[in-house]
């Protein structure tokens, strides 16, 4: 039975990673074909860095992801703190509203945001479809993820610690920054990372709110169909995959090192 469970793990791994492996392999393919292997080349990587359209939309995507996730993290964290201190029925009402964008199909959010921006434009406010609308939309759909990540941490937190800090002479704002924020920091960070990834990932909503001045990478890739998508995209995906992989490895290494140090420290204290 043991071989069965082992091979099950490997089959699952293969399902998850085979597509990525194929993608990376074909980023080195000489021809544009995604089916036939014709020889090894670095050409697509070289071309990628001179392709203005792809590079520009990559930069757009990164800037939008950074800005929107930072704004969403600030708003979401503050909202979570407010929600925790509400009365029970208010809290459940607001939380249900928060869940709504998460469970709603993206296309509905996309279309409704587009209609909203068109309406705002029609009443005379100058809003340019493009960078601004993309950031507003990304902030909007990112806020719930931050709230949902910060809430549990806030609930775990011992409110007496905050009160104790004030008893010991902290002003409310000092207590907030020195006690509450460090306590819920893991929640804020994971909320931020989630917002960041969702923003990088998003296609459907961006598709509706992107405009004449800027578009994100997923839209650029989607539109390269007439002459079909070139292996430059494979090369870019391979680079992104490697960056994410190294970051993950570094973070994991860092964590295990800290853990080991903690254990050693405890042993040293004779516990």
């Amino acid at each position: 039975m043991k071989w069965l469970s082992k091979s099950y793990v490997w089959v699952t791994m293969a399902f998850l990673y085979a597509p990525i492996a194929v993608l990376i392999v074909f980023s080195f393919n000489q021809s544009k074909s995604r089916g036939a292997w014709t020889g090894f080349t670095w050409n697509w990587y070289r071309r990628l860095f001179t392709n203005e359209v792809i590079i520009n939309s990559l930069i757009n995507t990164l800037i939008i992801a950074v800005i929107s996730s930072i704004i969403a993290t600030v708003i979401g964290t503050l909202a979570a703190i407010g929600i925790v201190n509400m009365k029970r029925w208010q809290r459940s009402l607001i939380m249900n509203i928060t869940y709504m964008p998460v469970i709603n199909p993206e296309i509905i959010i996309g279309v409704s945001l587009m209609l909203l921006f068109v309406w705002v434009k029609s009443i005379g406010l100058q809003i340019e479809f493009g960078f601004v609308t993309l950031i507003l939309a990304h902030v909007t759909f990112n806020i719930p993820y931050v709230i949902l990540n910060v809430m549990p941490k806030l609930r775990q937190m011992d409110m007496y610690v905050y009160e104790a800090a004030q008893d010991l002479g902290c002003s409310p704002s000092q207590a907030f920054f020195k006690v509450v924020i460090p306590e819920i920091l893991p929640g804020i960070l994971s909320g931020f990372l989630m917002a960041f990834t969702y923003s990088l990932d998003d296609f459907i909503i961006s598709y509706f709110v992107a405009g004449a001045t800027s578009q994100t990478l997923p839209i650029t890739i989607f539109s390269s169909t007439r002459p079909p998508v070139s292996p430059e995209i494979n090369a870019l995906s391979a680079i992104i995959f490697m960056v994410v992989l190294t970051v993950l490895l570094l973070v994991n290494l860092h964590d295990t090192r800290i853990e080991r140090e903690n254990q050693r420290g405890r042993r040293g204290m004779g516990i």
């Binding site: 995604r34 392709n51 068109v118 004449a212 539109s223 169909t225 998508v229 570094l250």
Partner: protein, 404 residues
């Protein structure tokens, strides 16, 4: 966390640093004309097909950054994938574009609905480079709104090792029973019905519902021979040898033939479709003169040649053709003879009830002979319901027993 940010920043820096444009100083006709707006901080929004402009890779001309350097006008360049997408973008009124590149029938529709600006040809002196074959075409009869950018024909790509020489020549090949399961067809109604209509000897644009239903019968008959209805999967399937016969655009046929030398190409003798993608300025453009300057720049000989070489589709620009290498302009796939061109037809903008009829016929074609599915899905759902009810009953039964 710090490390992560550092790494990220380095990656971004690397990417942006490497992306600096390589300047290659393009020769233009009248430099004074192009420098009019220098230093005024103007910008234009250009909306084009994906991968549809020479971008500086492989030492080609980086058209956009050349234009920016020359004129001082910033270009916001975005891309789309279908004509219908552009139409929707313009209609919903969110974005304002200065230059877009739709295809023939969509231009006709936009003109009819008053969505395009008339061009001021005094600002586009290079229009003289456009071959007379591409002026006053049916979608813009008096040539007031558009300047052709690329064109191409549809032909049949086939695998020489599978298809016998005597079978090629006409659209008949797509109905040849010998190649059961080796045939690919377009996954869009206009092209498939056009081909069927042409084989019946009718014009490619459906004239009436009678013609359309005959074409539908013909396509239904063909359906069992067809391996799949696809668009750009054709590249992989033809190059990889999974399929042997497919109709597709000439420019892409050249790409496929370069990847697999067993592939051949012919334009059916009955005639075929010719498409033209053209530069137009939509209503609502804020910088019309800058947009016209951009259009003029695209018509420069060197720019036109660079684009034609990068995209692989044919160019209507005679000045560009003059400086393109012989192997490009002499290729009969991209630049077919007068005789072939004279037998081509352009798509026209169909009246809306005809559009609807084509869509209905297309749906009928795709759902034909799939009648088993009428029972398959309800039966499957019933089984699912039965299984879940069964599971629940057995669970509550077991619970009761263990409960006691």
């Amino acid at each position: 966390m710090k490390k992560m940010i550092c790494l990220f920043c380095t990656a971004v820096l690397l990417l942006t640093g490497a992306a600096l444009p390589v300047s290659a100083e393009v020769q233009v006709g009248d430099t004074g004309y192009y420098t009019r707006f220098q230093g005024q901080g103007k910008s234009i929004n250009v909306h084009n097909w994906g991968e549809y402009i020479s971008d500086g890779s492989d030492d080609s001309l980086a058209v956009i950054s050349e234009f920016e350097q020359l004129t001082g006008i910033k270009v916001n360049y975005t891309t789309f994938s279908t004509n219908e997408e552009v139409y929707a973008r313009l209609r919903n009124g969110g974005a304002s574009y200065d230059v877009i590149v739709p295809s023939d029938y969509m231009i006709a529709r936009m003109i009819r609905e008053g969505m395009l600006e008339k061009l001021d040809f005094d600002n586009i002196p290079n229009f003289e480079n456009i071959s007379s074959d591409f002026r006053n075409l049916v979608y813009d009869p008096s040539n007031e709104y558009s300047v052709p950018y690329t064109w191409g024909t549809i032909g049949v790509i086939y695998n020489k090792t599978v298809v016998d020489e005597e079978d090629i020549g006409g659209w008949d090949l797509l109905w040849n029973q010998k190649y059961l399961g080796d045939i690919l067809m377009f996954s869009n109604p206009r092209d498939d019905f056009g081909i069927a209509l042409k084989r019946l000897g009718y014009p490619m644009n459906p004239q009436n519902t009678q013609h359309l239903s005959e074409a539908l019968e013909l396509l239904k008959e063909q359906k069992m021979l067809v391996q799949a209805y696809v668009m750009d999967e054709i590249f992989d399937k033809m190059v990889g040898g999974e399929a042997a016969i497919a109709p597709y655009y000439a420019g892409d046929a050249i790409t496929m033939m370069a990847d697999n030398e067993d592939l051949g190409y012919f334009v059916p003798e009955e005639g075929t479709n010719r498409f033209v993608d053209a530069l137009v300025i939509p209503k609502g453009s804020r910088e019309k003169e800058c947009a016209e300057m951009f259009i003029n720049f695209m018509l420069e000989a060197e720019v036109g040649a660079a684009n034609a070489e990068y995209i692989g589709y044919s160019s209507p620009n005679t000045a560009a053709l003059a400086i393109l290498p012989e192997e490009v302009t002499g290729n009969p796939v991209a630049y077919p003879s007068e005789e072939v061109i004279s037998k081509t037809e352009l798509w026209v903008d169909l009246p809306s009830e005809m559009n609807l009829a084509v869509d209905q016929a297309w749906t009928e074609l795709l759902s034909a002979d799939e009648e088993y599915s009428r029972w398959l899905i309800p039966a499957f759902m019933l089984i699912c319901i039965a299984v879940s009810v069964g599971l629940n009953i057995s669970r509550s039964y077991r619970k009761k027993r263990y409960g006691k």
